[in-house]
């Protein structure tokens, strides 16, 4: 996919409007002092200054999703008999995620292995995934806490994106990554981009060099299993954690969920919502036994899942993209990159 495109800066509004003609376009918008993905519409102003506070994971994996609804029905020939009818609604609209960061796009590849390749396909996830195009903006500069390059990724990583954009002086260079992405290059307003490629590559390299590396690029086998198994290590490392779960909800690679059921008189719904392994109730069993009853056991599981267990299942791939959100937004400043670097230094 050598062909590239170029979108002049002043044409971006028109471009977004054209995109939104036959798809729901989600883009980062400034609300108060947080950046959040919102649908493109008049009055919503695009904000690409820094990575959004929360990743766009909900576009494909909604925070709360009705899996099915059901109705009680009286049988016509026997009014005493009531039967249940189940209904699903899975006609997903075409969607475009515009202006997420490479770490966000890569997060979806972490989900793909779980929701599609190995346990699924999860009809709901796959349905939305198939209908979504991801147009990523390569990071011009790292934010506090970013450590993507230590995980083999980087501010211009293309994994999980359909198009990678790089912001230049007068516009954006578009590099298609997938067939879906190629189609985007045919949109009105996009010009040929080859003359801008060099400038973009220089920007990408500069950004790469600017990312802080709390540890050299890591593979999961470098985690000290001995230290990982040591209770005292975790007691100390996460003594401040208050089990709020913010780190998991803001993480583009966390995907644990729960089901809840809501019923009115004659109908109801089964809903799937994000949940978090940082919560006490998550693993509480009916007997009262809880295999992860303490904060440190839960945090250990979170780190273990990302840096040991997931890689064990998926050819060494680490389930953290180094976006740094859990570090930036943890109320008590627990720093996963610091913990991982302690886990990999020799005993």
């Amino acid at each position: 996919m050598a062909e590239t495109g170029f979108l002049p800066k002043e044409k971006i509004d028109g471009f977004l409007e054209a995109l939104s003609k036959d798809a729901l376009v989600y883009m980062p918008v400034l609300e108060g002092d947080v950046i959040i993905f919102r649908p493109f519409k008049p009055g919503n102003t695009l904000c690409l200054d820094r990575p959004a506070n929360s990743p766009p994971k909900s576009v494909i994996y909604p925070q709360s999703d009705v899996l099915f609804s059901y109705n009680y029905k009286k049988e016509t020939d026997d009014p005493k008999k009531v039967s249940i009818e189940i209904e699903t609604h899975m006609d997903y609209p075409k969607a475009i995620i515009f202006g997420c960061r490479p770490c966000d796009a890569m997060g979806f590849t972490v989900y793909d292995r779980v929701f599609i390749e190995s346990n699924g396909p999860d009809t709901y996830y796959q349905g939305r995934r198939d209908e979504t195009i991801i147009i990523t903006l390569s990071c011009p500069a790292p934010s506090a806490g970013c450590f993507c390059t230590a995980l083999g990724s980087g501010p211009a990583n293309k994994e999980g994106s359909d198009v990678l954009m790089t912001g230049l002086e007068n516009g954006f260079l578009f590099e298609p990554v997938s067939e879906k992405g190629k189609a985007i290059l045919a949109m009105p307003g996009i010009e040929g981009g080859s003359q801008h490629l060099q400038e973009a590559q220089k920007k990408q390299q500069d950004a790469y060099n600017a990312v802080k590396k709390p540890f050299p690029s890591i593979s999961h086998t470098e985690i000290s299993r001995k230290r990982f198994d040591l209770d005292e290590f975790w007691h100390k490392a996460v003594s401040k954690c208050v089990s709020c779960g913010a780190c998991t909800f803001l993480c583009p690679t966390c995907y644990c969920f729960n089901f809840t059921d809501e019923q009115t008189l004659e109908s109801g719904e089964r809903i799937r919502s994000w949940d978090a392994c940082m919560f006490y109730h998550f693993t509480l069993e009916a007997s009262g036994h809880n295999p992860r009853a303490t904060r440190f056991l839960r945090y250990r599981n979170r780190v273990g899942h990302k840096f040991l267990f997931y890689p064990e299942k998926y050819n060494g791939v680490i389930a953290c993209c180094g976006c740094g959100r859990c570090i930036r937004y943890c109320p008590v400043s627990v720093d996963i990159s610091e913990i991982v670097s302690q886990l990999r230094s020799p005993e």
Binding site: I84, T88, S118, D122, T123, C277, F282, H289, G304
Partner: protein, 278 residues
């Protein structure tokens, strides 16, 4: 959009019979409402299902009827909380949702030609029942069958009709125990692990399969080791809070293993490898 298989959608089923097993355990025989589904449904002994009470929620239970008897699926449910209470409120003829089969199964092929020792406690007989009935339906494939089963009081023993039947069979050795003396009880008393020690079955060519409360399992495993049972000849089942049942929701892992997918049945070798606390 063309719909492919949806792993979260329960299959509608009807409760055709409810059996009172003990004061807090009832067995439910259910039949899928779709006759085609009932005909084509298959599962392996030891696999579990999620029973869904509409509007309340889902909980996990082993399918404790064997695949050799497919007129219905049986689940035995002990009252433990919200969903199990709602299940106990069901009546014959009520509809429920079933997601099954989930999880792995007993390695019954590897057990062929071997002596089988079942050790169960309380509702823990449910998964064992599947395999016992399956083996009795394929009796010639297996050597001696011994069952050690205990509960708190005689009232808490499950499947009383079957216990009577097994007791009367010459090709099954059934040993029953209750925790303490009880009026009218003339069989053994004492905890299951202790009775296991007293019976002292030989480990030669024998596979031991155990299920019961965690504390019972813990001591049974210790005592089996003392009796020189090898880790690869000891099989147990694990519990966890389960929601999705298909390895995604993140609740039931021990390291990289998911009880809902890689389990609930594990050999002691596998358990030790996974670092699970028992």
């Amino acid at each position: 959009m063309e719909q492919s298989f949806n792993p979260y959608l329960p299959e509608l089923a009807t409760v055709i019979k409810i059996i009172d097993e003990t004061p807090n355990i009832k067995s439910y025989r259910v039949v899928f409402d779709d006759p085609e589904k009932m005909k084509t449904f298959s599962f392996e002994p030891g696999q579990v299902g999620q029973l869904y009470v509409f509007g309340v929620g889902e909980a996990t239970f082993v399918i404790n009827s064997p695949p050799t008897r497919m007129e219905y699926l049986q689940f035995s449910v002990m009252k433990a909380g919200e969903i199990t209470n709602a299940i106990h409120d069901l009546h014959e003829g009520d509809q429920i949702g079933v997601r099954a089969p989930l999880g792995n199964s007993f390695p019954y092929d590897d057990m062929k030609g071997k002596k089988i020792l079942f050790i169960g406690g309380g509702i823990g007989l449910a998964p064992l029942r599947t395999l016992i009935l399956f083996m009795l339906d394929n009796r010639k494939d297996y050597d001696d069958i011994t069952i050690i089963y205990g509960s708190r009081t005689p009232l808490d023993l499950c499947y009383k009709d079957e216990l009577r039947e097994w007791e009367s069979r010459s090709d099954v050795n059934l040993i029953l125990t209750v925790d303490n003396e009880y009026p009218g009880w003339h069989k053994r008393t004492g905890f299951v692990p202790t009775v296991l020690n007293e019976v002292a079955p030989s480990p030669d060519n024998t596979v031991a399969i155990t299920c019961g409360p965690p504390i019972m399992i813990k001591f049974v495993l210790q005592n089996l080791a003392k009796l020189n049972f090898k880790d690869d000849h000891v099989i147990t089942t694990l519990e966890a809070r389960m929601k999705c049942g298909i390895g995604i929701c993140g609740r039931c892992n021990i390291g990289s293993k998911y009880i809902c997918k890689d389990g609930p049945i594990f050999s002691l070798v596998q358990l030790k490898e996974s670092g699970a606390e028992i």
